[in-house]
Symmetry: C3
Subunit: 303 residues, 3 copies
């Protein structure tokens, strides 16, 4: 059992995961009934996702086998497949992988016995970020039905945008997009409309700001930071026009003063650090989800 | 007590280690009676050896003090000796070291109180790989007497070839070599003969394929990958001519399609992933071996 | 509660920390009554300080969330502030930070709920090194009153010199400086006089040799290694002129044959490896100190 994309999960699975995560938020540390071994294979830079998975693993008392892409045999030409098979051979139960290649997991799925959790593939999918975003929205509104969520910014480079938009629509939310039209993703047109950013600010229950991924814009930015902030950034003026109780989200790292004004990052409407906190509980739930499938009975995983 | 080369071990020691390792394969996690501290100092890239030692340490519940050669004070000019003495001073009980310099351990042996396990020195020795290879053969044949083992390929650059050939001969096996004659090691001529590869394929109980170490061939390869595979690689045609029950081994990482055909890596005769699994148990046995020498009584190490 | 500079500690705090550390030296492993989570953020190379904090954390059984500055989102432009806030959000209780920027912690102090222990800031402060030096002197003399301590060498680049000189003076010692006059720090003139090195050798109870920090001398050294050793290095001839029972200290890594003759590094007067050992106990005391402030009652931290 893997979690590679949100398509691996039914709506019931998603709600199960959210409720399990919420349970972990309210509870003490869990104790596993036997040792499990994990490895976190991050081939792209990360603070949040990597630390958060590691925290989730440690809260369960799992044993983490360290892996550093820069000093692994990958550097001698070993393939990702052989690397993962090696970890399986030495006894690793679950690997979390972040990799720059879209759908890197297709070469693994069906050929390995350990469980894979996708920590982000290229511009493809990011299910753990999606689930933590869902949890943050669910904590706020206790439902997705009838909510208006606008995803703003660098959509074509964002695995977050793709995973979130599809999951939110499945769960009954109205999904919209805003930001530079040339950064829109054609495939997402069927999920929701592109609307004017200032209109989105006034009508959305959730504004989901995306990071401008300078490192993925091959040919350089077409906007200066100031221009982008002026046209598509959440300024203090715009924040004042938001609906009562509506919230601001961002997967982080934030380019402060670009996607969002510096002083809004920790404002009352912001759930940015709340998202990070939720990331730990959601990832605990994901680990539990894949590992329980390996055990005969549910209660065999945790006491 | 260290394990630096196979010469540190008597034949009885070797069998003790193999039996202890086999015991760990069949058992649950061990519990140490007091905390032990280890550090894994890898100055060369590694996935298998490093992860495997780490798994062995974690299965014992040892505390691992992380070490990254790229950010250590080695970068400020600190010597290996002072690095190891520092780890000793802060309370580390055992260090596993991989280093590019042949016999790096000569500067340490006799001057440190902690235990050293050699994880590979330059083109010198690789005792943990040797022991896991021995275990894999022993599981197959329950003896080394009368077995014919052929080591094939890049022998002069291989610390695996050297360690294995000498140990296997001591234990009663007939050791042969095959592959490019110019890659043969003069010192190993007294251990066994160089024979024609195709003849070796038909007569060996164990074919031990070595990785072509592109990174150690200073002046470039004299063969293309295709030529090497054609002349000295284990192709499907050759595999069909192997004796019944004979096995294929490789220390990995494998250059698929060079030393061995892609489709043979996981074939029925292949013990390549079995070798990796055995690596964990053998390294547990090695850790137990060196740490028990530090304690007054054998039963003080594990419950 | 943080420990950022020695000014955060009263004289009573310092003695408390030394007595707690000495207690840990004489005792077994401590058991925490609940899990704590730490992260070690080292933005500069380190073996001693990093390993020693990690050992201290592991001796308490703390959970360490790994952090590698080279693969963190810092590389995507994330600020130190956002990095630390992220770790706080996911549940980290204490971070140890080493950073090249003087007083990097000013941007964090007052804005974070987790505890910060400064592991060294630029040419500023190094409180854990200071405390381990104090412990080493205290073990030797059971007091600081009336002791003569001479700090020798690359004073202007040394956070150790600054932290130590001020703390020792506060505790009643006479502090002197020796070495190249042009490497003297103006601010430290009020703490103690610059005296002739050979006179210092004969009159000091403690010779505290500093590492020549080649990497911080922007315009290159004005001395060759041989010249420096001849003029300001502790040679065997000088060692013979030291007072009875006086000791040699060095924060390490040592440039052997520069600040100190190779053969003196492990001589009878040398406390260099003793300092490293003490580093673990002092850092345990520091962790206990900051974490106890987070708990209602002292006995809630350890059993």
């Amino acid at each position: 059992m893997h979690i590679l994309t949100m398509n691996d999960l039914t709506n019931d699975d998603m709600f199960d995961l959210l409720h399990t995560a919420e349970g972990y938020r309210l509870q003490q540390q869990q104790q596993l009934i036997k040792p499990y071994y994990t490895a976190n294979l991050f081939f792209e830079n990360s603070t949040r996702t990597k630390s958060s998975f590691e925290m989730a693993e440690r809260k369960f008392g799992m044993n983490i086998i360290s892996f550093d892409a820069q000093t692994a045999s990958i550097q001698k030409g070993e393939t990702l497949y052989d690397t993962v098979k090696t970890l399986e051979a030495i006894g690793v139960d679950v690997v979390v992988i972040r990799h720059g290649e879209d759908r890197y997991f297709d070469q693994l799925d069906g050929h390995v016995k350990l469980s894979i959790i996708n920590g982000g593939d290229g511009m493809g999918h990011h299910p753990s970020q999606c689930l933590l975003d869902l949890l943050t929205i669910y904590q706020e509104y206790q439902s997705f039905n009838g909510l208006t969520v606008t995803v703003v910014g660098d959509i074509q480079h964002s695995r977050v945008a793709r995973s979130n938009a599809m999951a939110l629509k499945r769960l009954g939310a109205t999904v919209q997009f805003a930001g530079p039209k040339e950064w829109m993703d054609q495939d997402l047109q069927q999920i929701g409309h592109h609307i004017d950013f200032d209109k989105a600010v006034e009508t959305s229950d959730v504004l989901m700001m995306l990071r401008v991924q300078h490192e993925r814009h091959a040919s350089g930015m077409t906007f200066s930071k100031q221009e982008y902030h002026h046209l598509y950034g959440l300024t203090s003026e715009r924040e004042k026009k938001m609906k009562a109780h509506s919230i601001i989200m961002h997967p982080a790292p934030v380019n402060r003063g670009v996607e969002i004004a510096d002083e809004l990052v920790e404002c009352e409407r912001s759930r940015i650090f709340k998202q990070m906190e939720n990331g730990v509980y959601v990832r605990m739930a994901m680990l539990q989800f894949v590992l329980q499938k390996r055990e005969a009975k549910k209660h065999e995983f945790v006491n």
